[in-house]
């Protein structure tokens, strides 16, 4: 697997983020080890990997909060090393540990963020109202931030990051700890932001360790040990395993797993609650299904169903990383 082997069509779509061969080490720890990134306007890009894979460090390099040991970053036409203030003025950043003033109201919080970003008083109010409307907090402008629910706090964070009308929005694990309903709402906002302002061309880079979230991005980069080990759209990544994932349900699962892993064309069998996921060799799924059915029958075990299922991003991630377990 060659990292970053993407070709970019040089159409009239602008590339807002150009990062070339970034390196950042802290002592012996190579947190970011040769990352290159291109993100186009109108694109939601997911940096996907575990804690410590280098996602947050990559974001902090992009925003100019950390200096890379090597590599170049260009954001919206500005060189981050030389024009950091200009570059930053185009970025909205929602960090993992976003903090707000709990004893200030929603509107006061936004005002604070707007003013430190240099917005004048004639600018910030209408713009804040527009954004609070967009995230659904317009009715709560006088509520103290400390009294907001988790989901509303998160929307306030998003609103604060959006108040300067950034062209690039960096979201570092924004939905950690929130419920699926809130998460769904949050994603609808992000997708709308990108879709709505297609003319202005907003890009979003979002980091997450979760595959259900990764699958909502236009393009994802799987990160491991400071490197992007694969990069593509979720559907293209999934096609790498098309027709190679089987779902097996039945009892007892342990015996079924034994039978499955002994099959010569089964590469992996993983338990998933009440079922097994099998990864089979290319072009072998029908043979494996027929063979396992016969075997399970002959051993008098209970088979409920055995079928091919669409591969998930999780299956792909595991395939790509199984030769370098940590």
């Amino acid at each position: 697997m060659k990292p970053n082997d993407l070709t970019f069509e040089h159409s009239n779509v602008q590339t807002l983020v150009h990062a070339q061969n970034l390196h950042k080490h802290f002592g012996n720890n190579h947190a970011v080890d040769g990352v290159s990134l291109q993100v186009k306007a109108g694109e939601i890009y997911g940096l996907v990997g575990s804690d410590g894979a280098g996602k947050t460090t990559t974001m902090r390099l992009l925003v100019g909060a950390l200096l890379p040991n090597a590599g170049e970053i260009n954001i919206c036409g500005y060189d981050v090393a030389k024009q950091v203030e200009m570059a930053r003025s185009t970025i909205g950043y929602l960090s993992q540990r976003f903090s707000m003033y709990e004893d200030l109201t929603v509107l006061e919080n936004i005002r604070f963020f707007a003013e430190i970003r240099g917005l004048s008083s004639s600018e910030w109010l209408p713009r804040s109202m527009e954004i609070l409307e967009f995230v659904g907090l317009a009715k709560f402008i006088d509520r103290r931030a400390g009294l907001l629910s988790g989901g509303m706090k998160q929307k306030l964070g998003l609103a604060s990051a959006l108040v300067t009308r950034p062209r690039l929005l960096l979201l570092d694990e924004p939905t950690t700890g929130v419920d699926p309903v809130t998460r769904q709402d949050f994603w609808q906002l992000v997708v709308k932001l990108v879709a709505n302002r297609e003319g202005e061309g907003v890009s979003v880079i979002i980091s997450t360790p979760y595959m259900d979230e990764a699958s909502r991005c236009h393009r994802v980069g799987f990160m491991k040990a400071g490197k992007i080990i694969a990069e593509d759209s979720p559907s293209n990544l999934r096609t790498r395993l098309n027709n190679r994932i089987l779902e097996l349900r039945g009892t007892p699962l342990k015996s079924l797993k034994q039978i499955a892993i002994q099959d010569e064309d089964v590469e992996e069998a993983a338990a998933f609650g009440d079922k097994l996921h099998l990864r089979v060799k290319e072009g072998k799924s029908n043979i494996v299904i027929a063979r396992l059915q016969k075997q399970i029958e002959s051993q008098n075990l209970n088979l409920i169903s055995l079928r091919e299922i669409p591969p998930t991003l999780e299956d792909v991630f595991i395939l790509l990383t199984e030769f370098n377990h940590d």
């Binding site: 939601i44 575990s50 699926p180 309903v181 909502r216 991005c217």
Partner: protein
């Protein structure tokens, strides 16, 4: 059927006017892996605290390993293991020193037991590693070892694999399945769908209520009655508007570069024709699989 390891009936906890846990009932049998899925603040931790005998229920009853949570809290605590995501591991101690320290808390001083616990979680060979040098995945294994050192019959895991990638998560869960095969009962609280998918049964919590509890497969088939379609069309927002208005479509969501719909008796061709006649270009429409997130959204709305 033998006596359940956990038996909860109408368990309720109020804090003033706030009902944190609202008349929940469920049973867990020995060797089962049960997930308790819900957002922060939905009552998961309050339930666990009651089951551990740390918090008195306001109403209802519960037994854990046959002991009454009201009257025999100490018996329970001596027999269960608890792995919390916020568990303090001493960063400047080695893995072995951490486990020896926490073993001591439970009165376990037997070196062989400590070593076999490290081996069980795959940390043998890393005895002398300082814990601050461990990756998140390995720290989670150490936390698990600490929860297991007194050989509990019941294990509570609080978001055990938060923040790790699927490879590390799967490796961790292989350990959990091994424990369950040996008869350990496991209750996992989480708000991550990726994690809940690994459980044999999943209970869905929201606002203090247990909305459903079943196998992930049964939850998906019983609660998501319709078909899932992944619709690649643009412009997305207009497509969303049009599909939402189509009879039989229950939900449409923006899923990044495409739309995800749940519908009943709606043919793929019907969606395609409708979208195209409204000037929307359609790349492809593929069948999708229902997820636990769909289940949660259906139950919550």
């Amino acid at each position: 059927m033998t006596e359940p390891v956990i038996s909860v009936k109408n368990l309720t906890r109020r804090f003033g006017d706030f009902v944190a846990v609202d008349h929940i009932s469920f049973d867990v049998q020995a060797g089962q892996i049960v997930g308790y899925l819900g957002p922060n603040g939905s009552g998961k931790t309050t339930t666990i605290r009651m089951l551990l005998g740390l918090l008195k229920p306001s109403d209802g009853s519960a037994t854990v390993l046959g002991y009454d949570v009201f009257k025999q809290a100490e018996e329970i605590r001596a027999r269960v293991g608890y792995m919390s995501q916020k568990f303090a591991i001493y960063d400047d101690l080695t893995t072995l020193e951490n486990l020896t320290f926490y073993g001591g808390v439970y009165g376990i001083t037997d070196k062989a037991r400590i070593n076999s616990t490290l081996e069980l979680v795959g940390l043998n060979g890393h005895e002398k590693t300082l814990t601050r040098e461990l990756s998140t995945g390995w720290r989670q294994r150490l936390s698990l070892a600490i929860a297991l050192v007194h050989q509990p019959k019941l294990l509570f895991l609080d978001e055990p694999t938060s923040g790790v990638d699927p490879t590390a998560r799967r490796a961790f869960w292989d350990l959990i399945y091994k424990l369950a095969e040996d008869g350990v009962t496991i209750l996992v609280t989480t708000h991550y769908m990726d994690e809940a998918e690994y459980c044999e049964r999943v209970g869905v919590m929201r606002d203090g209520k247990l909305l459903a509890m079943d196998t992930p497969t049964n939850l998906k088939t019983s609660i998501i009655k319709g078909d899932v379609w992944e619709v690649y069309a643009r412009p997305l927002e207009k497509g969303l508007e049009i599909l939402s208005a189509l009879a039989g479509v229950e939900r449409v969501g923006l899923a990044g570069d495409h739309l995800r719909t749940i519908s009943q008796r709606v043919e793929k061709e019907a969606m395609q024709t409708l979208l195209i006649s409204n000037g929307i270009s359609v790349d492809k429409i593929e069948r999708g699989e229902p997820t636990l997130e769909d289940v949660f959204l259906s139950l919550a709305r």
